[in-house]
């Protein structure tokens, strides 16, 4: 479906979402899965990766073709609802960084 990011022509965009979760799930897992499914359907979506350590700190990096794709996804009504619940329940803190990916290289053993 998607071109692997390693073959994606630069420039493209990355959204680095670093967060600290509150304790307990409170419907977070289900919503997170749904948001990934929905993001994958968005025009300009290129990929997503997520990591979280045992202390609840983590990062989700999503990749997009351009800034308009990022704006459209941020404005998506269901995603807006998730953002609201994120502030009310799921996150102690988060930070978002909008980045232009200028150059990439990779290694395979």
């Amino acid at each position: 479906m998607h071109v692997p990011l390693e073959q994606q022509q630069t420039p493209y965009y990355a959204v680095i979402f670093t967060s600290k979760r509150t304790e307990g799930d409170h419907g977070y897992g289900k919503m997170a899965d749904m948001m990934v499914d929905m993001a994958e359907q968005q025009p300009g979506f290129l990929g997503v990766e997520s990591y979280r350590n045992a202390e609840g700190a983590g990062v989700t990096i999503s990749y997009w073709s351009d800034l308009e794709a990022i704006r459209n996804w941020k404005a998506n009504p269901l995603h807006q609802l998730a953002q609201q619940q994120g502030k009310q329940q799921w996150y102690d803190q988060y930070s978002v960084k909008i980045c232009k990916v200028e150059r990439t290289y990779s290694f395979e053993a």
Copy 2:
């Protein structure tokens, strides 16, 4: 010491290093700690964060003032040695993305 990234004026740069570790430590932990200590001494270093899941996939994102700072760190002789060992022993694969951080915002509960 460092200005918190949340207060850092954009633009600045991020290096997204996504990797899949080989099994076993093989001196990786010690070297990783040393590389963070050394990076923190580099001119233009702004911060670093690291996450790895139970399957050995992870990401380290380092933040820098400009491209020259990134080039200088990549060319550092001890870091070069670590990069060599990384290819020989520590990583099944990795990818590096050089990104210009254009805009940031954050939330605190």
